[in-house]
Symmetry: D2
């Protein structure tokens, strides 16, 4: 940690800081510059993160040397994390997330009924995608909107998983539902609104089940990594990160998909990075271009929403792909992946 002192800081103030730092067990490097005195504190900086060093008399600015994430940082696993999902049934496919093969997650926003879910599960599997996404518990801005089928939805999801033989990812919003969701899902999803629901993250940290954490509308990349750190510090190291758009001033899209987060995350962390262009844009006609772009940017996977009749969807119909559009998109991203040395 580096403290820049005010021009007006006195020797006494500087000495007080030096003494304090030594009491805390830090070595000190004091450097008098032309306009400012700078004090470097040498030791485990993370112990100082909590301390409000900026209120110490004489201090102008506090500069951190290290990133606040440890377990999620690239240094810890330079070869990159691979998350392995064992086959759904004997002889089925093993899915590896984070390797050369992209991981495609597709399905309806909400589980709306048995037939529809089974049909889409089959479509998703046939298209070559890896996971069926479908929400049983739905976070909705309005209390008057459809809130998901809940446990009945989970039951249908389990049936689709078993019948079709496809891995599933679904959102968990409530710590009290965690066991029920974990019993069905191959990958848990923490939604954008729960990215800093630390209660939920801590409980997931106790499980041994992969989890995908979606970036919040106001999350910095660093905060997203700190949310992953919550889960990892609990012992659960199988974390995927998902860029799904941040909130900006632009009204023509639902969110602003921050695709540069993909290469930034790949520099900063060893965790796989998924992109969700459905929520990232909010409009079905923008989904395929942004899915292609995400793959071109180097994402480890894509999550998209599909619906057989978007105009009748019970949630987020505006951003749902028709099955035929989805299939065309799959071909396009496959071609892009291949020329960049990956495959779908």
């Amino acid at each position: 940690m580096i403290l820049v002192l005010k021009k007006s800081a006195t020797d006494k103030e500087a000495q007080h800081i030096v003494q304090l730092a030594r009491e805390w067990g830090f070595k000190v490097n004091l450097s008098r510059g032309v306009e400012r005195t700078v004090i470097g504190l040498i030791g485990d900086e993370r112990e100082l993160r909590d301390k409000p060093l900026d209120v110490l008399p004489g201090v102008e600015t506090v500069l951190a040397v290290l990133k606040p994430y440890k377990l999620a940082a690239s240094e810890g696993c330079p070869e990159g994390t691979r998350i392995v999902l064992p086959p759904v049934k004997k002889g089925g496919r093993t899915v590896v997330i984070g390797g050369p093969e992209l991981c495609i997650m597709a399905g309806p926003c909400s589980i709306e009924g048995r037939e529809m879910l089974l049909d889409l599960a089959r479509l998703v599997k046939q298209s070559g995608a890896h996971l069926l996404r479908a929400g049983a518990f739905k976070p909705r801005t309005s209390p008057y909107a459809f809130q998901g089928l809940g446990n009945e939805g989970l039951r249908l999801l389990a049936e689709a998983r078993a019948t079709v033989g496809i891995h599933v990812i679904t959102e968990v919003m409530d710590v009290r539902d965690l066991d029920a969701v974990a019993a069905v899902a191959d990958v848990l999803q923490v939604g954008a609104r729960n990215v800093q629901n630390f209660t939920l993250l801590k409980e997931i940290g106790k499980l041994r089940k992969p989890v995908m954490i979606k970036r919040g509308l106001a999350s910095t990349i660093e905060e997203l990594l700190m949310s992953a750190e919550y889960v990892m510090s609990g012992g659960n190291h199988e974390v995927l990160l998902c860029e799904r758009g941040i909130r900006t001033f632009e009204p023509m899209t639902r969110n602003t998909l921050d695709l540069a987060a993909v290469p930034v995350l790949q520099r900063e962390t060893h965790l796989p990075v998924i992109v969700d262009p459905s929520h990232g844009t909010g409009h079905w006609d923008l989904v395929a271009p942004m899915a292609r772009a995400a793959v071109a940017a180097g994402a480890d996977g894509i999550m998209v929403e599909i619906h057989p009749r978007p105009e009748e969807a019970m949630s987020d119909g505006s951003q749902a792909l028709l099955p035929k559009t989805y299939v065309r998109m799959m071909k396009e991203i496959g071609r892009v992946a291949r020329v960049l040395g990956r495959k779908v």
Copy 2:
């Protein structure tokens, strides 16, 4: 709801929409303009909010006529909601939030220990403030940071409440803690990170206990009102709203305190509006100016953090006021309130 059709929309597409709307039980007003055809759907618009009307063939734009909040809207209670906290003990003070008297909430960010809490509770009471704020459960960005004293903190808070005779507000983060927190708190607090934790909001809706909902870092004013609507639609109508800063590109403050939200909310809703300049700015030296500004803007109350030794605070020390600065601020806001026809 109003649908603007594309210039290229056909008669058949327009007729399809008209027919659909009638099937849904809406009257239809079709108006052919110079460049666009416009279809108005007359009926209970809120039933249409969930429908992805923008994906209907021929539709260019969908314009909503009504605000999505009902119970929170001004129309429902034009005289404004007043929340009454009965005395802590016999003969004690009744606190009314939302009336001519401002409501001041002050105290430490976290409960750090018994002595400190009791001392601050006394100071807060003597200064004329109405509620002691103090966190037992702390949402922290880092899993390595102090997470609050938890139930032990609640116990200390109950003791301070009883001993000093002051109402208390404290945050609840986890549905499983709700009973324990509600047993101690006069007002529950839902923090900025949980503003769209719909699980928590629904459970609070079942209680009959006042709750203050803090605006999220990425919450629009409309979304904040929808979070209040979640609680109110459950039957709990005693909701306070708190502006505490939104996330913008400006790095010199922790958040950007959106004080115009105060008069906007007072136009849109009958619920009382509190401002938190401590989180809203993140720096102690900006707290008093922004507290004065909040009162001048017409806020119904203020929430601030104080600490006897900010440099030793276990959380958010940078934004804590020293007791003497706090007392000076109280005098200033009292003077501002009085010349604007209110009192502290």
Copy 3:
């Protein structure tokens, strides 16, 4: 234009609005709904844009039916605008921007000297790119920073253009430099900071010279189109639009590159869309992934910065590609373009 009246609006207020609208030459469609009365004004909405209809007594909300841009709107030129740059010298290449072939613009941020510029111009040409970019006039946040070589830079640029035989694009910041810049440049550039320098846009509207307008840090897509409209309404229809990142709360990148703006613009306008991943990210290691992503999203071209020794660059060295990295990027985007039916 559609006016939604307040619930409390009186008949008299509604009648006043109807009368006013008729005086302005509009037909009126009045529709009484369950909760609100809605008045549609039928006529040339653009005449109403300037009127503060929301302050009319009884009005709650004003909803626009039409987009405010006319000449830039897709409807005006559904087949898309192609901008043709005639050969620099006899027998040279004709460049077409907006057709199936991508347009690549590359070069140093600033013109720093003769040798360096000529070397890079040759590299850019050899790599298959179409325009040399290089700044003579540099908008810099600090008055103490290098401000560009000015007219001497223009002279060097003209020399590089003639010697190497490559088209050039360069920024104009000052109306007084317009003639000098237009005498050298094949395409003028209006920088992000000047996107609403209406004085400059109007003057460029009088020229018959292609211009690329960069989106401002706080420009909505609609505002960017309105800036194009300024130029086009002056008679100059050869406008390119450039997405180069907007300002958000994320500090790990210099700006947030809004790639979804590419398909949105392609839906909204017939003008070609270029992406600048150098300014869009601010870090050289993010440029190639974002260039690939831009091409995959469907951009009509790419603008990137290169420098032989970035650590010695006089401006924006952090985001400059080394020549070898640039050449590798060119190959990658060529491959992506080809599998999506375009070419470089």
Copy 4:
């Protein structure tokens, strides 16, 4: 300047940086910490601002010790700048901006005609305000909107100034209009869209005429100060800064008025700080609350728009105060100012 090296940085890389720094004339302080090596460069940091130190091999992060503004920084004039406007005519009032008396600027958005301007000038003077604001040159998002009366407007403004005997402030958008505007205006205004029109700022730096620079929609506080620095480094030290709202995701207000910028600027700079709640909110009913809040936050002045018939205003009618609302607001801010030790 402080360079934090990567964990993987070699001794050779560190030595290369040390050597380079010495060649540039800097002393070096190298400190090996537990996880990172840190190199401090001691000397005039501003010489390094331009250098892309982050691309040097082995460098992870670059941390600046000093703020980039010099002339605008508080240190240079701890007692605060006062700008004195000599009387408009003999025996008239001297206006001092930046002292204990607030400076109120009021008037129409645009100059629309002679009568209206003279009437408002008289009203503004009678109300006790200090400057008449009124635009002759108007930056408008649409080329089809009213663009101001231009030179005819300036002539009317000069007449109002002389007839009524009131100081005037008006915007300059074009360097070619600078002499004409400076001949009439007591204070020049640089609008939000021109905050980084460095050409214009440089020319104004050559004048000896006060100028008020409005914060841009995407300007950080630091960038606003750098724009002031442009003017001051040219020799013109009479600069006022104006907070007028920044662009955020919140749609219920035109901009988000960042009132915390007032105390931040007062800590960072010696220049007076004005607040414009008209543009800052965009709605007339929010102007008075925000004007009161600005005064309570410590602003040195207020700029507001008024119009006798807002519904007929040729620009920004939605945010214009009626004369009677304006007069009421003046009384309120007078009362707030007085209890905080200032006067109007």
